[in-house]
Amino acid sequence: MTRLSPDHLVSVEGLHVSFSGIQGKVQAVRGVSLHLDDGESLGIVGESGSGKSVSCMAVLRLLRSPPAQISAKRLEVAGIEITRASKSDLSAIRGGVASMIFQDPMTAMDPCYTIGQQIVETIRTHRGTPRRRAREEALRLLKKVQIASPEAILDSFPHQLSGGMLQRAMIAMALSCRPRVLFADEPTTALDVTVQAQILQLIKEIQEEMGMGLVMITHDLGVIAETSDRVAVMYGGKIMETAPVERIFEAPSHPYTRALLDSVPGQGKGRGRLTEIPGSAPDPSSPPEGCPFHPRCPEADARCISSDPELVKVTEASAAACWRLS
């Protein structure tokens, strides 16, 4: 996509992730390039299986290998090359420089320890703070994420809390070492609709207050609209389009982005009429030749079927991978 300089907080260039399984190789991510600066907010949107979560897991090397095989021209967080990072560098980055929150808060905490113990553990791992002080710090964090009765929550076990409270606690834990970037992997998908908005609001507020980078991974364009400055649209393990958030909603360049917008109630051009994208997402074990979207694309022609388009600049800040644009 755009020029990469060594001073980006997160730099990903030419990332490929595949999983070797019984049915052969599954190519989950096929040449993704992304970058993020301090204080910036990037949204990654795509259907399930588009490779958005896998890309971010790869950035923190959280995929088990084997079966995952990761290769990249460049995969850096805060100047450290992740594919070659030592154990201690990796530990310092995970939870220290870059934190991650996950889709289902109900299964994200160890059921055997209290919320307080788990936050204290994170603080002490990175900063070696004395237990008493770490506990005070945990309490302060729980207050910061606006949890009701934080003292009681500190000594509660995960099963005693609701999903929304747990996600707040997860956020508190993720923030405990003042990370420079927060990866949020569908943080509201498993929550009640009323709670979703509150959690997004909280993440946004904290991001702005702390000047932290944010990568919001979601399938929900509404979430993107609320949280992101810049958007990357993923499909079939590739980035289809990347652009500032306004441009994605007002002047999408890629047919897939347009189709995505048309399938959201109250979005896009076809207001009032909801359309679906015909067909289904490509099978990652045998992705189609050419552009991954061509089997479902209303504008596809012979060139789209035979060869795969590169990301090309559309404006100074946006790019799309579509033959129609070149």
Binding site: L62, D104, E121, T122, T125, H126
Partner: protein, 310 residues
């Protein structure tokens, strides 16, 4: 927690009462009796006198109450096959070798099995994993009398390192302990591997990695504790099953333990001994499960706090 333990203790007492009635009735519904005709038939008169002497001519409920009154004071009467001592004395004497050998077998086999299972889970699909699976499968499928024979063959006959049988000096304990240890070793290797793999696949493990914890801390502080919950349930019943002696192991190594009495007391219609063995086993198993449940609750906050709101 204390209330929970007390409630469970009451249910254990009820279980014990019910089990004692069932055992008593079953014993008396077995056809035949201790003074039935064998090689030297007794006269009718002598038989009746003998029956009266042991209280066997009274109605069943009277026999039961008499028996239980004695049993709660550990007076189980006199074993027919060894009239010179009491049942309690015989069990106490014979149990010591079984408890020592079986107990040590479990205490040796369990940690080894756990280590093997852990190594297998952490090095999945490597030679360690395959070795652990092979050991576990062999340990569970090869009968203990075959294992015992092979041990004797290897260490006593071929290598001539260890005595093949007997009880007394600790040197003689080694082979039976190894024979006993194979079962908990195999069981625990299997259970630990399965429980660890299950825990390792949980999303919270990924979260722990994302927090920057070391792999060692994740395994020992989190994965092991979550995996221990199903393992605890197996331990006490397994300990008891082994520490009451195996008739095969004790016969092969000629250990004067409890194992053989389980069979001989049925064969000879030795009601007092058989009843006592069954009752003691029943109460010990009930207590073993109680202990498992309490430990389980202690390890698992979801049970300790009554399941939460969901």
């Amino acid at each position: 927690m204390l209330g929970y333990a007390l409630r469970r203790l009451v249910s254990v007492s009820v279980t014990f009462f019910v089990v004692s009635i069932i055992i008593f009735l079953m014993m008396h519904s077995i056809p035949g009796g201790p003074f039935d005709a064998g090689e030297m038939p007794l006269t009718q008169e002598v038989r009746q006198r003998m029956m009266a002497q042991y209280g066997l001519d009274q109605p069943l409920y009277v026999q039961y109450l008499n028996y239980m009154w004695g049993a709660i004071r550990l007076d189980f009467g006199v074993p027919f096959q060894s009239p010179g001592e009491t049942v309690a004395g015989l069990i106490g004497r014979a149990w010591i070798p079984s408890l020592v050998l079986g107990g040590l077998g479990v205490l040796v086999g369990t940690p080894l099995g756990m280590l093997l299972g852990m190594a297998a889970a952490l090095r999945r699909n490597t030679w360690i994993d395959y070795l652990a699976s092979a050991v576990a499968t062999l340990g569970l499928t090869v009968p203990v009398f075959v294992t015992s024979m092979l041990l004797i063959l290897l260490f006593s006959v071929w290598l001539n390192w260890l005595p093949s049988s007997g009880w007394g000096e600790p040197k003689r304990w080694i082979l039976p302990i190894i024979a006993y240890a194979t079962i908990p070793l195999a069981t625990y290797a299997r259970y630990t591997r399965a429980a660890m793999l299950d825990t390792l696949s949980k999303p919270f493990v990924t979260v722990l990695r994302a927090k920057g914890l070391s792999e060692r801390r994740i395994v020992f502080q989190h994965v092991l504790r979550n995996s221990a919950i199903p393992l605890v349930t197996v331990f006490f019943p397994m300990f008891l099953g082994t520490a009451t002696g195996s008739i095969f192991v004790e016969a092969i190594f000629r250990v004067p333990g409890l194992g053989s009495f389980f069979v001989s007391s049925i064969e000879t219609r030795d009601y007092p001994l058989e009843m006592a063995l069954m009752l003691i086993l029943a109460i010990l198993f009930a207590l073993a499960y109680l202990l498992s449940d309490i430990l389980y609750a202690w390890l698992n906050p979801r049970i300790r706090f009554g399941g939460g709101s969901e």
